[in-house]
Symmetry: C2
Subunit: 335 residues, 2 copies
Amino acid sequence: MSDIITLAHGSGGKLTHQLIERLFLKHFSNELLLQGDDSANFTLPTGRLAFTTDSFVISPIFFKGGDIGKLSICGTVNDLAASGAKPLYLSCGFIIEEGLAMTELERIVESMAKTLRECNVKIAAGDTKVVGRGAADKIFINTAGIGIIEEGIHLSGRNAKVGDKVIITGGIGEHGVSILVEREKLDISGDIQSDCAPLNTMVESILKVTRDVHVLRDPTRGGLATTLNEIAQQSNVGIRIDEEKVPVKDEVRGICELLGMDPLYMANEGKMVIIAPQHAVQEILREVKNNKFGSQAAVIGEVVESHPKKVMLKTVTGGSRMVDMLVGEQLPRIC
Amino acid sequence: MSDIITLAHGSGGKLTHQLIERLFLKHFSNELLLQGDDSANFTLPTGRLAFTTDSFVISPIFFKGGDIGKLSICGTVNDLAASGAKPLYLSCGFIIEEGLAMTELERIVESMAKTLRECNVKIAAGDTKVVGRGAADKIFINTAGIGIIEEGIHLSGRNAKVGDKVIITGGIGEHGVSILVEREKLDISGDIQSDCAPLNTMVESILKVTRDVHVLRDPTRGGLATTLNEIAQQSNVGIRIDEEKVPVKDEVRGICELLGMDPLYMANEGKMVIIAPQHAVQEILREVKNNKFGSQAAVIGEVVESHPKKVMLKTVTGGSRMVDMLVGEQLPRIC
């Protein structure tokens, strides 16, 4: 194969077929892709279907703790998991800038394949487009995913109830801060890396011990603050968070202070917000903490009747302030 | 709303929510999008599932006969239809360059909504990313689609049988040539326009009268020649085409001659290749010709035992030549 991606790799002709056979099929190979038709055809287990999509435009494409390939799998897998679905199949659309090194594309595809194995999920359909130099920035990836929701599972941002507790499955802001450090080439000591991780096994283990979970949502773009605001609005409830209890790594806090950023708005790619009734909290926390991506989980607040649709933060100094959705753009191309 | 798309529209924060409510929900509104969760949840009718994806990077984004929005719906709907599936739900991922005029985005979204109604298909999930100026070219759209294949329908590029007839549902090359004219600002008289159209109702009406169809495929990138080569390879058969019988509009032929292009390699976005046994051909042709997108349908060749995996063209002058897959790139960003 040539060393770089050319426009002909996106022509639909010989070079596209070569790229599919020598790169995509090599790493993603499964019986559905081998069908070789315009759509993959298969029979699904019974249950409600969950269907979602995300495009990934992150810059840089390789970063500490992950890369755009790993992110493109985790992002969609986590959106499915947040619906209580068992993720099964993904589609994958590449938009590549002419001139991307074939070695970089292969590194991305290998990383996707590794993450797919970790999640036990398959690529069922794909597409590759190539645009001229300057018409895209290296590579963009879209994944859409389907999963199955077992009977008895009803998760939604609309389901938060007054009295419920709010759990976060670990330290916040790590993805956002690691990208910031990478992009600004900050010379920071300490090991900040993206928390990019697939959370489907964590969610499955929670739902195995209890169906008493009201909301799951992964606080990506816009961070924890934006996600809590979305839930407060959807459920028409207030949410009160205790700043002291929100886990934030020292390095994350340090860099945020240095740059005047708020960890509450920094993106996460391997954390879940869980809202559940008090009586289920201990069981849930035990499962989360047993998972390798959940050891720092904590109860950080509760759902309240006062200030519906608003999120209040009890600050470390004892005061209270309203926490709004992200306004403007804190850090473009974070995912 | 602001007049142009800014980075903040892709932040996941307030402006993203505003864009979703005032533009996407306004035009795409349905009960699934109103769920407002990370994945859409729904129950599917029984049958095998078809799942596919395509990204659209066409330039220019508006052209005679369509635009990137209409194309993004038709492309994925047609891939589902080519599997014999009834298309039901699409996901939709926008990657937008900062600075795109809001009026252009709305025109695209309106066009998508119109085409969705025509196909009786719904957007179930969406995502919007914004990248800085120069990091993309105006707008890219990914759609992934799911549909249901009824029992008894078995279409695949692997199913072509010796003796089968090859049908094309109308004149070839119209999409490719119209984009070429648009892009090169050629001053051509006559009305060349893209054939961009959803073919799901045509396919449904064929499958209502006969299940005796072996292959359906829409000859997009790479044109009719590439699609026939793919089928010949997948089915391990030869395909013989009669040049005289392949419908090509005079304007398409003229422009191709002028520019030294071959209509066989020009992209189509509203045509189907149908391969079926002789005894079903008349029934199929009748259904196709009754459809508003199929009036020029013709039998153009047959599946043969000789030269397996190869496509031979009987030329107008009586000779024969092998027609290979597209090599290189004829026209980048055609879809």
